[in-house]
């Protein structure tokens, strides 16, 4: 049984070793400086460029876009659930959020491509078939149940006696929610944001289907882009011989992805632990 538990350490080390091994081999061909500063990413065609910035920009666009949707709606839902909802309403909303969270990402990708993109085209005719905006919207929907659920837990952890005390001082529900309850749950709320964004960074299928496969540095969300995750998928779908530089790019980009999400998750845990609220 101990060995089973030990497996988790083995896997963690395994991931690090595997990524590092090939990534190091990659960086023997391509300088790290070029990797992080070149603004073009053409690993498969001559002349080859290995600047990861376009992929990073693509991921970043998706993350920001999804945050715009996912975080406000998630927080609003959490406040609704903990401060305003009746038990019956909770009984409907909570399962709905759980279902939204359980829908596979391919389905969201399909939805982005076949529903959201045509909708966007009505509004902004210059929208490309593959664009960052649809993917962002859909990833936002994907992360909002996570934000809502974690924030709801954090808000409900604030003891009711604090709310009663505030009401007894002549405050309105809005003031109690925003000036007493939310500040009292702040570390949990912030940690939920970080975790949700980390999930958005690692999101693969929705962006692969809907956002496109053209790595470029652009601020226009209606163009097609490519994220780090979508690139990895693209390379795997093709025929890349093991040991080639293209094969190694999988690991280089994967290593970067892993580092980013790991850092985000560690930060979230740090926030939770360091600033854990003391109520009494």
């Amino acid at each position: 049984m101990f060995l089973c538990a030990l497996l988790s350490i083995v896997v963690t080390i395994g991931i690090i070793v595997v990524l590092a091994f090939e990534a190091v081999a990659f960086f023997r061909h391509v300088s790290i400086v070029e990797f992080f500063t070149d603004t073009r990413w053409f690993p498969l065609l001559e002349p080859r460029h290995f600047g990861v910035l376009p992929l990073l920009a693509g991921t970043f666009t998706i993350v920001v876009g999804s945050a715009v949707i996912g975080i406000p709606v998630g927080v609003a839902s959490a406040i609704y659930l903990s401060e305003y909802a009746s038990a019956r309403a909770r009984g409907i909303v909570k399962p709905v959020l759980e279902i939204l969270a359980g829908i596979p990402t391919v389905v969201y990708g399909y939805f982005a491509l076949t529903f959201v993109t045509p909708l966007l085209k009505h509004v902004v005719p210059s929208t490309n078939i593959f664009n960052a905006a649809s993917a962002s919207i859909v990833v936002g929907i994907m992360i909002l149940p996570m934000v809502a659920s974690l924030c709801d837990d954090a808000l409900r952890a604030v003891p009711d006696s604090l709310r009663q005390g505030a009401y007894a001082l002549g405050a309105t529900p809005f003031e109690v929610a925003t000036r007493v309850v939310v500040p009292g749950a702040l570390s949990g709320i912030v940690a939920s944001f970080v975790l949700a964004l980390s999930r958005a960074v690692g999101e693969t299928m929705a962006v692969t289907i809907a956002a496109g496969a053209t790595p470029k540095l652009t601020l226009n969300p209606f163009e097609s882009i490519q994220t780090m995750t979508a690139y990895i998928v693209q390379v795997s779908l093709g025929d890349t011989p093991a040991g080639s530089t293209e094969y190694q790019t999988i690991f280089a980009v994967g290593a970067l992805l892993f580092c980013i999400t790991l850092a985000a998750n560690l930060a979230a845990n740090r926030i939770l632990r360091r600033f854990r609220e003391v109520y009494e």
């Binding site: 006696s161 604090l162 005390g165 007894a168 001082l169 002549g170 009292g184 003391v278």
Partner: protein, 268 residues
């Protein structure tokens, strides 16, 4: 205890009404949770600037009655009432009356101290600021803490967290917090039951000082406490008002047999 200069206060309702109208009057009040009555046909007049104690065995409805006086029962979904509660002649449950305004004038201190996890200063200043106070906040905080007999102990650490105070200090902080809104009436729900004897006696001394300016209604299950500090006592049993009168009389020459049984410890 010196009294700092008068500070900006919200409207004194007293000036607008004849001063001999009782500050708080309960008329034939019945409170139900669903269809189970917790308070039945209670009528009494709370005397102004005195301490009125509400005593009675567990579950007799004391806290329910207290909470009804500042509309805190509004938050309980199936709580409904018949009868009236009049504050200076105004029906508190009239549709035109805003409960938030009510709670500014009738403050409450809870059984377990519940300071906000903020600084001591912010705890006191939060209520007035929320309600639109525009005057000298520092003076208001100081005078509130002085009136709660806490100023000397915390004046050098106003920016520390309120949670760093002891239990007794936290409760006095909650009293100061209620005082900062310049209420007319202060409701206290067993304010010392969660505290040690030393802190308890300090809270009781504080009540004596406070009654010079404020009307106090205190719920307590501690009969000795009621006998010690209150001017008037109401004895409730299974939701009904059994007896109400001056404390001396209720404890030494009770009119009702049940009162006599209770105060001599035969039940409850």
């Amino acid at each position: 205890m010196s009294d700092p200069k008068v500070v900006d206060v919200p409207v004194e309702t007293k000036e607008a009404v004849a001063p001999d109208v009782p500050v708080l009057e309960v008329r034939d009040l019945t409170i139900r949770y669903g269809d189970k009555p917790a308070i039945r046909n209670v009528s009494l007049v709370i005397p102004e600037r005195k301490i009125t104690a509400i005593i009675g065995p567990s579950g007799c409805g004391k806290s329910t009655l207290l909470r009804q006086l500042n509309r805190m029962n509004d938050f309980i979904p199936d709580c409904n009432m018949d009868g009236q509660i009049l504050y200076r002649g105004i029906d508190l449950y009239d549709p035109e009356v805003d409960p938030v305004e009510v709670r500014r004038r009738i403050g409450m201190v809870f059984q377990k101290p519940n300071p906000f996890p903020k600084t001591i200063y912010r705890n006191i200043s939060w209520g007035p600021v929320i309600n639109g106070f525009k005057g000298d906040l520092n003076a208001l905080v100081e005078s509130s803490l002085q009136r709660a007999a806490l100023w000397e102990e915390v004046k050098d650490r106003l920016t520390e967290s309120a949670l760093s105070l002891s239990g007794g200090q936290q409760q006095r902080l909650c009293i100061a917090r209620a005082l900062a809104l310049q209420p007319e009436v202060i409701l206290m729900d067993e304010p010392a039951s969660a505290l040690d004897p030393v802190s308890t006696s300090r809270i009781e001394d504080l009540c004596f000082e406070l009654k010079e300016r404020y009307t106090i209604v205190i719920v307590t299950h501690n009969m000795q406490q009621a006998a010690r500090i209150s001017d008037f006592t109401a004895f409730l049993d299974t939701g009904k008002l059994v007896e109400f009168g001056e404390t001396d009389q209720v404890f030494t020459r009770p009119r009702e047999k049940r009162t006599e049984d209770y105060v001599s410890g035969r039940f409850g």
